[in-house]
């Protein structure tokens, strides 16, 4: 008879479509056959993953339709192992999966839409941002200060207008016939304000500045980098705005 580890290994492999020859002798086959009994678990495991993905990616589902979404979610469930007992963490890799999913190759904006939805989900559950801690720094050497982004703030850049696409696919929002998927990309700050998640479009300079700060670059160098790429960027106004809004915090 198999050990517990062997039995569980065979069971898990069979759930995702690998041969079940090893498993059948271990399963009681009576009034209801062993394959019929096992099928209940196969259905529920994949079903749980699909349900978890649907909860996080409603816009992706709307864009591709329920049937295709279920097909993609099932493929993800079979290919991408869940590494946590907390099902809420399972969808983290869905955007990367969609980027190489054959059926979705023509929808180049889909992975970034998924990235945006995952960012919204993460920010919604992130720790509450502490109040900004830059008071009393009047005499500090500002150029050398290093900051970090709180978990309740997330930066996202896309060559696609995913912000507008997301807005147009919210419940009750009427589709805009003038919307053009090729109308250019967006830089976004996804942040929580109180309990609500807000999407704030950024100008490129502000995105470059915040990305550099998030990576631990000293303030002086981060400003220089943003200005090198965008000489017209009003760095003073952006710094003031994001310091006061608590977008970045002193490390």
């Amino acid at each position: 008879m198999p050990s517990l580890l062997e039995l569980q290994t065979d069971f898990a492999a069979a759930l995702f479509g690998r041969p079940r020859g090893n498993l059948w002798p271990s399963v009681v086959d009576d009034r209801v056959s062993a394959p019929e009994r096992f099928a209940v678990y196969q259905g529920s495991v994949v079903g749980n993953y699909c349900k978890a993905l649907r909860a996080v990616y409603p816009v992706v589902e709307r864009l591709v339709g329920e049937r295709f979404f279920a097909h993609a979610a099932k493929a993800y469930a079979c290919q991408v192992p869940s590494l946590h007992g907390d099902l809420n963490r399972y969808g983290a890799g869905f955007a990367a999966f969609l980027a190489s999913f054959p059926g979705a190759a023509e929808l180049a904006y889909l992975p970034d839409t998924a990235r945006l939805e995952w960012a919204i989900e993460s920010v919604f559950h992130a720790s509450d941002a502490p109040p900004h801690n830059v008071e009393g720094l009047a005499n500090a050497d500002w150029a050398q200060l290093r900051f970090r982004l709180p978990r309740s703030c997330h930066l996202l850049a896309s060559p696609w207008p995913v912000h507008r696409l997301w807005q147009l696919n919210q419940p009750g929002v009427e589709w805009d016939e003038a919307f053009d998927i090729d109308s250019g990309g967006v830089y976004l700050l996804v942040r929580r304000s109180g309990f609500e998640v807000e999407l704030e479009p950024l100008e490129e300079g502000a995105y470059l500045l915040l990305t550099a700060l998030a990576a631990g670059t000293a303030l002086g160098e981060a400003c220089e980098r943003a200005l090198a790429d965008r000489p017209d960027f009003d760095v003073g106004a952006a710094l003031q705005r994001h310091l006061l809004a608590g977008t970045f915090l002193l490390r």
Partner: protein
């Protein structure tokens, strides 16, 4: 061997926190309504993993619920039936939540859901062997050590059994409670579903469980799919399950009882209605006890 004594002390403490009344499984769509209307609900239970997050609205709402209702934490992802040490990150999240919520009861399932680092996120049945018994007991010990308090383990609904499973389920449960000092969360619907699916006598099962270890009862609805009953948590409690429940509380005395509903979640009023029916049966049993 101070286990029985320790357990008696903790049971007294926890029973004071979760009343021997009926409560409901708290699901996100109902939270706002409960906060706004503060209905007369005995207590509530939440799925621990849904509050493993670091902050935001769900945790804040749970804090507010906790001010007015006793809360029980019910885990679905620890996998007490898996070999190897438990996922310490999961256990750390649970401990953090326990410290925040100070729940009246903490429970997990008598099942497995992970192997070789891969999680299956479903309550899968164990073969009832000496090996599995040792694994479950070690994991229950580890959990109780980490949390600094006893937990309850719940009997699951199952759709298949293993050919080599020599220990009867009630006996397996009795051994786990005796060896670890944990309590039993008796799910009466799960007993009915498994009894139907495997052709055993639900009443004989209920007579064989360790009655003194039962600290909580679960009730939920099931559905039929072909020749099997499925524990969908998507319907009202079935009549035969209510009868089994009535017989169970007549024997065990008043015990905290939870109405669970997860799929096709109805308006809160439906859950409250089911809860009142359970309360009504519990009151009859209180009256006899008095």
């Amino acid at each position: 061997m101070d286990t029985p004594l320790r357990r008696a002390a903790t049971i007294t403490r926890r029973r004071a926190a979760i009343p021997s009344r009926a409560g409901i499984g708290l699901r996100t769509p109902h939270i706002r309504e409960i906060l706004a209307t503060r209905p007369n609900i005995g207590w509530v239970e939440v799925h621990s993993e849904n509050f493993f997050c670091d902050g935001g609205q769900p945790l804040a709402y749970l804090d507010r619920i906790r001010q007015d209702y006793a809360v029980s934490l019910h885990g679905v992802g620890l996998s007490l039936g898996s070999l190897g040490p438990l996922d310490t990150e999961h256990l750390t999240c649970l401990k953090r939540l326990v410290e925040r919520v100070e729940p009246g009861l903490i429970s997990e399932h008598l099942s497995w859901s992970a192997v070789g680092g891969r999680h299956l996120n479903e309550l899968l049945p164990l073969p009832y062997t000496e090996e599995a018994l040792a694994v479950v007991c070690r994991n229950v010990h580890q959990t109780q050590e980490a949390l600094g308090q006893p937990i309850l383990v719940e009997n699951i609904s199952s759709y298949l059994r293993f050919t080599h499973s020599p220990i009867p389920e009630p006996e397996f449960i009795a051994e786990v409670t005796a060896r670890t000092g944990c309590g039993l969360l008796l799910d009466v619907n799960n007993v009915f579903v498994s009894a139907t699916n495997h052709g055993f006598d639900a009443r004989a099962y209920l007579a064989a469980i360790p009655a003194a270890a039962v600290e909580e009862v679960h009730l939920a609805g099931h559905d039929r799919a072909g020749d099997l009953l499925i524990d969908t948590h998507g319907a009202r409690v079935a009549s035969p399950v209510w009868r089994l429940y009535q017989e169970t509380v007549a024997r065990l005395g008043p015990v905290p009882t939870l109405i669970e509903w997860d799929n096709d979640l109805p308006p809160l009023a439906v859950l409250v209605d089911e809860m009142r029916h359970a309360d009504h049966l519990l009151e009859a049993c209180h009256a006899v006890a008095a």
